[in-house]
C-alpha cells in the first residue's frame, strides 16, 4: 500500500505539497458544504462513490503531503501528529468528517431550531429542542415538590454547609491540631443539624416540610452528603478491624466488607424498603428517606473501608514501630500517628468514592424517592408535557456531567498534589 502510493508521487516536493493540499482542501470543503449548506458537489458521481469521494480524495491528499521534512512548521506538525501512516491518515479523516457531519444537526437541534420562550407546550414550534419544558420544570428538577416559597431554606442550608466546610482553611496555627477533630466529628454534626432543621423545619418558627416533598437535584446532594459523612467513620472502624490482629474482629470486618461489596446497590435499596420495616420493633416508624440513607451508608462504608485500608497499608512499617517504641498503645498510636497520615493519603480515594456515590444516588428513584431521575419520570408522564423525554434526559445528563467531571478533575489534582509531597 505504502509503496504503490509513493510511486505516484512526483519527485519534486513542492508539487507534492501543492497537489496534496489541494486534494485535502477539496475533500474537506466537500464534506463541509454537504453538511452545513446541503450542497453536494460530488453528487453527480454514481452510487456509493459520492459518499466515499471525500474520503478517497482526502486520503490521497494526505499521502501526497506526507514527507520527512518540509520546512513548513504547520505541515511538519501535521505530519508528525495526525499523518504518520496510511492507517493514521485514514482514521484522522474519518474522525474529522464524522465531527463535521454530526455538528450541524446537533447544533440546529440544540440551539438554532430550539425554543425557550413561552410557558406552555404550544410555545415550542421549532423542529429542535424545547427548552421551554426545562425552563418551566426547572424548579421541580432542582427542588422536587418542595414548596416554591421555601426554596431559600434549601439554598441557605447548602450555602451554610459549604461555607462551614471551608472554615478549616482559616484555622489559626495553634488550632490546627484540632482540624481532624473538626472535620471528622464536629462538622458532620453541625451540618446534619443545619440540614435537618433548615430543610425539614418544625422548629424555630419554620414550617414543617415532610421528606416526601423533598426531591430533585437537592435530594441527590442531601443523600450523598449524609451518606458520605456517616460512612466515613464506619469505614474507618472497619478498615482498622480488617487490619487488626484479633481474629474474631478481623473476620467480622472482612465478612461485612465482602458482603456489601458483593451485592448491587439496588438490592440494598429494596432491602431498605421492604426488609428494614420487618427487622424493626413494632410501632417503630422510620422515614423512608432515613432508611435509604442508612442503607446506602452501610453499603458505601464497605467501599470506604477498602479505600482507607489502602492508605493504612501504604504507610511504612517504621511509623508503627516508632509509635510503639514511644510506648503508645493501640488507640493512641492510631489516633495520633497512623490515622492522620493515612487519611491524608486517602483523600483522593475518598473523593472518588464520593463521586461514585453521587453517580449512584439516582438509583433511589427505584424505591420511590423523587430524585432528579424521578422528577424527570414524573414530568415525562405529565399530560401537558408529553414527548420531551429527550430534552429532560439531556438536561439531567449535562448537569450530572458537569458535577462529576469537576469532581473527577479535582480528585485527580489532589492525587497529583499528594504524589509530589511524599
Amino acid at each position: 500500500m505504502n509503496l504503490s502510493l509513493n510511486r505516484i508521487k512526483s519527485q519534486n516536493q513542492m508539487t507534492n505539497i501543492y497537489i496534496g493540499s489541494a486534494l485535502l482542501i477539496l475533500s474537506i470543503l466537500d464534506v463541509f458544504l454537504n453538511s452545513f449548506f446541503r450542497i453536494n458537489i460530488s453528487g453527480s458521481l454514481p452510487g456509493n462513490l459520492s459518499i466515499f469521494f471525500p474520503l478517497i480524495l482526502g486520503f490521497l491528499g494526505l499521502s501526497y503531503l506526507r514527507t520527512e521534512y518540509s520546512g513548513y512548521k504547520f505541515l511538519d506538525s501535521l505530519n508528525k501528529n495526525i499523518n504518520t501512516t496510511n492507517f493514521n491518515a485514514f482514521l484522522t479523516l474519518f474522525i474529522t468528517f464524522a465531527i463535521l457531519k454530526a455538528f450541524p444537526p446537533a447544533l440546529s437541534w440544540m440551539v438554532l431550531d430550539a425554543n425557550i420562550s413561552g410557558d406552555t407546550k404550544e410555545a415550542c414550534t421549532g423542529t429542535g429542542a424545547c427548552w421551554t419544558y426545562i425552563k418551566v420544570w426547572f424548579k421541580r428538577f432542582m427542588y422536587g415538590m418542595y414548596p416554591n416559597e421555601l426554596h431559600w431554606r434549601i439554598n441557605s442550608a447548602f450555602l451554610l454547609v459549604i461555607g462551614l466546610g471551608f472554615v478549616g482553611y482559616f484555622f489559626k496555627e495553634n488550632l490546627k491540631k484540632y482540624l481532624a477533630l473538626y472535620y471528622v466529628v464536629i462538622y458532620p454534626i453541625i451540618a446534619f443539624l443545619i440540614i435537618y432543621y433548615l430543610i425539614s423545619g418544625g422548629a424555630f418558627g419554620l414550617v414543617w416540610v415532610e421528606t416526601g416533598a423533598w426531591g430533585g437535584l437537592s435530594l441527590t446532594f442531601i443523600v450523598s452528603f449524609f451518606c458520605l459523612i456517616f460512612c466515613f467513620p464506619l469505614g474507618m472502624i472497619l478498615a482498622l478491624g480488617r487490619r487488626s490482629n484479633l481474629p474474631a474482629i478481623r473476620y467480622i470486618s472482612v465478612g461485612y466488607i465482602e458482603f456489601w461489596r458483593g451485592v448491587p446497590l439496588i438490592t440494598v435499596l429494596f432491602m431498605s424498603s421492604v426488609m428494614f420495616p420487618m427487622f424493626l420493633p413494632q410501632d417503630f416508624f422510620m422515614d423512608k428517606l432515613v432508611r435509604v440513607i442508612i442503607a446506602i451508608t452501610l453499603f458505601e462504608a464497605a467501599y470506604c473501608a477498602e479505600v482507607i485500608r489502602g492508605g493504612l497499608q501504604a504507610l511504612p512499617r517504621g511509623q508503627y514501630d516508632a509509635a510503639k517504641s514511644l510506648g503508645m498503645g493501640y488507640w493512641k498510636m492510631h489516633i495520633f500517628v497512623i490515622l492522620p497520615q493515612a487519611l491524608k493519603l486517602v483523600i483522593p480515594g475518598i473523593a472518588n468514592t464520593f463521586l461514585a456515590l453521587v453517580k449512584d444516588t439516582p438509583l433511589i428513584f427505584v424505591v420511590g424517592l423523587a430524585e432528579i431521575a424521578g422528577m424527570l419520570a414524573l414530568a415525562k408522564t405529565n399530560p401537558k408535557w408529553l414527548g420531551f423525554a429527550m430534552e429532560g434526559y439531556i438536561f439531567a445528563a449535562i448537569i450530572f456531567w458537569i458535577i462529576c467531571y469537576a469532581m473527577s478533575k479535582y480528585s485527580y489534582n489532589l492525587e497529583e498534589k499528594y504524589k509530589t509531597e511524599r
Binding site: T96, M275, W401
Partner: protein
C-alpha cells in the same frame, strides 16, 4: 495474664455485639411476621408463579413455579451481563489503545469519549437510551431493513432465527475441532521446547475449526435454515413482525448503556496496563532480534495482560451488578422478576431479598475466587 485479657475482651465484646444485633433483628422479624400472619419458609418456591415475563430464553409461562421463574430471570440477567461484557471489552480495548495513539485527533477523541460516558450516571444513560433514543425509531411498518434481513423498530430489533437439523452432529464436530486444537497446541509447544521449531498453530486451528463443521454440513446431514421476520398486519394501523428472534428495546437499551459506560473503565485499565510496561522491555526484545509482531505477542502482551486482567475482571463484576438496574426499565431480570413481582405476590420479603442478594454475592465471590487463583498462577515467580 493481662495481655491475654487485652486480646480476648475486645473480640468477645464484638462477637456479643454482632449476636445482639442479629438477635434483635430476628426477634423483631418474628414478632412482626406473627402479627401479619406470614410464616418464614421457602415452600413458596414450588408454588405456581402465575405471572408472565416479556422476554425469556427458556420456555416459561404463568403455570410454572417460582423456582423456575427464578432460573429464567437469572438467565436473563446473565444474558445482559454476557452481552455487555463482550461489547464493553471490544469497545474498551479499542478506546484504550486509541488513547495511546500518536495521532492527536484520535488520542483526544478517545479521551473525551472516556470523560463523557464515565461522568454520567448509568441510570440516566439507560433512561436516555430507553425513553429517548430508542423511542425515536420507526414503527414496524416504516422500518427499513438493516443488512437486508434485520429490522430495527420501536418495538425492538428483529433478527432471523436459525432452524437447525441434526444440531448435535454439528455441535460434536465443533467440540471435536476444539479438542483437536488444544492437543495441537500442546504438541506444538513440546516441539518448540525440544527442537526450537514453531508450528503455524494459528492457521492449523483456523483450518480445523472451519473444515470440521463444514464436513458436518456435507456428510453429517446437518442443515441450517433461517426464519425471517415478516411484517404482519394486525389491524388497520397496527403492524408487527412475526418469526425470527425479537430483541426487546429494554435489552438493547441496557446492553448499550452498560457497555458504553463500562467500556470507559475497561479502556482506562487497558491504557494503564500498556503504559505499565517499561520501555526497556520493548528495546530489549528488539535488540535480541524479535520482529515487531513477536515483540507485541511474546513480550508486551503477556506482561500487559498481567496488569490489565485483574482490574478488568473487577469491571466485569461491576457490570454484572449494574445489570440489576434493568429493574428501572422493566427488563425481566432477577431483581425485577424476583425482588419485584414475586415479592409483591408472596410477601416473603426476607426470603426473596435474601435469595436475590445471595445470588449476586455468590457470583461476585466466585469470580473473586477465580481471580485470586488466576493472580497466583500468573504471578512473577521470583527466585
Amino acid at each position: 495474664m493481662n495481655n491475654k485479657i487485652k486480646r480476648i475482651l475486645p473480640q468477645l465484646l464484638t462477637i456479643l455485639f454482632v449476636i445482639f444485633v442479629f438477635g434483635f433483628f430476628t426477634i423483631n422479624a418474628q414478632v412482626n411476621m406473627d402479627n401479619r400472619g406470614i410464616d418464614f419458609g421457602f415452600g413458596f418456591l414450588s408454588q405456581e408463579a402465575s405471572f408472565d415475563m416479556q422476554f425469556t430464553l427458556l420456555d416459561y409461562d404463568g403455570q410454572d413455579s417460582y423456582l423456575w421463574a427464578y432460573v429464567v430471570a437469572l438467565l436473563n440477567t446473565l444474558l445482559v451481563s454476557f452481552l455487555g461484557i463482550i461489547f464493553c471489552t471490544i469497545l474498551g480495548v479499542i478506546i484504550g489503545v486509541a488513547r495511546l495513539s500518536q495521532n492527536f485527533l484520535i488520542k483526544n477523541s478517545a479521551a473525551w469519549y472516556v470523560e463523557f460516558f464515565r461522568n454520567i450516571p448509568l441510570l440516566l444513560q439507560i433512561f436516555f437510551w430507553y425513553y429517548a433514543a430508542l423511542r425515536a425509531l420507526p414503527l414496524p411498518e416504516n422500518a427499513q431493513p438493516w443488512f437486508g434481513v434485520t429490522y430495527m423498530t420501536i418495538k425492538g430489533y428483529y433478527i432471523p432465527s436459525m432452524i437447525w437439523e441434526n444440531l448435535n452432529v454439528f455441535m460434536s464436530c465443533l467440540i471435536a475441532a476444539i479438542v483437536a486444537i488444544i492437543f495441537i497446541r500442546i504438541y506444538a509447544r513440546k516441539i518448540q521446547e525440544r527442537e526450537g521449531k514453531q508450528l503455524p498453530v494459528l492457521y492449523i486451528s483456523l483450518a480445523l475449526i472451519t473444515i470440521l463443521p463444514l464436513f458436518s454440513f456435507l456428510i453429517g446431514g446437518v442443515t441450517l435454515d433461517f426464519e425471517m421476520p415478516v411484517l404482519k398486519q394486525l389491524a388497520q394501523t397496527s403492524f408487527i413482525f412475526e418469526g425470527g428472534i425479537a430483541l426487546p428495546p429494554e435489552l438493547i437499551a441496557l446492553v448499550l448503556a452498560l457497555s458504553l459506560y463500562t467500556s470507559t473503565f475497561v479502556a482506562e485499565c487497558v491504557r494503564a496496563g500498556i503504559q505499565g510496561i517499561s520501555k526497556g522491555q520493548k528495546e530489549a526484545a528488539a535488540s535480541v532480534g524479535l520482529t515487531p509482531n513477536q515483540i507485541l505477542k511474546l513480550v508486551i502482551m503477556p506482561q500487559a495482560l498481567r496488569i490489565i486482567i485483574p482490574p478488568t475482571t473487577n469491571q466485569y463484576l461491576n457490570l454484572t451488578k449494574n445489570s440489576s438496574l434493568a429493574a428501572a426499565i422493566a427488563y425481566p431480570d432477577l431483581v425485577l422478576v424476583f425482588a419485584g413481582t414475586a415479592l409483591m405476590q408472596t410477601g416473603k420479603a426476607i426470603e426473596i431479598v435474601g435469595i436475590t442478594m445471595l445470588t449476586y454475592l455468590s457470583i461476585s465471590l466466585a469470580i473473586a475466587a477465580l481471580m485470586n487463583w488466576y493472580n497466583k498462577r500468573i504471578e512473577i515467580k521470583e527466585k
